[in-house]
Symmetry: C2
Subunit: 134 residues, 2 copies
């Protein structure tokens, strides 16, 4: 799913077996209590992913912030509310852990995603800036 869209296809390697680096990242993430990797399943097939990260912060009076990355839904299963269900689950989990904020960045070209997040209550208050390292 990560390799499937225009942006993802330039940066992922989808092959069988999958590159070892994916497995290592998965291990690291699942061991760390500040990370939650969520998948949506339908009859045993993964049709959605979401990565929720808790970040302790010195700003905002030292409160926890929650961040969301790698939100993807299988193209065949879009527009059925699966992404929204995953997001609402993540937002509730963030609230339960006492986070004051949920944040994410989304590429300026992903207009459908902007509408999707706005419907969930997110405001586009910030610029998301990236520096690619070699």
């Amino acid at each position: 799913m990560l390799a499937e869209d225009d942006l993802g296809s330039q940066r992922e390697r989808y092959e069988d077996p999958l590159a070892e680096s994916y497995y290592e990242a998965f291990e690291t993430i699942t061991r760390d209590s500040n990370h939650e990797l969520i998948v949506a399943e339908l009859n045993g097939t993964v049709i959605g992913t979401l990565h929720l990260i808790f970040i302790p912060s010195i700003s905002y009076q030292g409160r926890l912030r929650a961040q969301i990355e790698s939100v993807r839904v299988d193209t065949e299963y879009r527009n059925r509310g699966i992404g929204a269900q995953m997001m609402l689950w993540a937002i509730e989990l963030a609230r339960g852990r006492g986070a004051h904020l949920v944040q994410l960045t989304t590429h300026k070209s992903r207009r459908d995603a902007h509408r999707f997040y706005k419907r969930l209550g997110f405001g586009a208050s910030h610029l998301g800036m990236k520096l690619n390292l070699k």
Copy 2:
């Protein structure tokens, strides 16, 4: 410094002694090897802060991403390259740890900050979206 600017003054509590929540966050951050809290010092006084976070990721072939938060320089010491020095230090550290990307969000109203990050090579490719929780 966090409480000093227009946005910060609405969300920080600067008092002596500082709220316990700040100290607890500081403890959590310093214990976690995925976090680096950097301060710039001049004659024993802290005049700048930067929080660097390493985030393992399942996208980008499982590579590490680096994120920067809480970049502040004391108003009396701005425009002297202190912020740039902290940023360049953080970028080098991120490169050294094998991160493929350094990311940050900055409020749309912080135009000086946008120029500052662009000079350092950051592209404003993304929207930064936030959802405040009660």
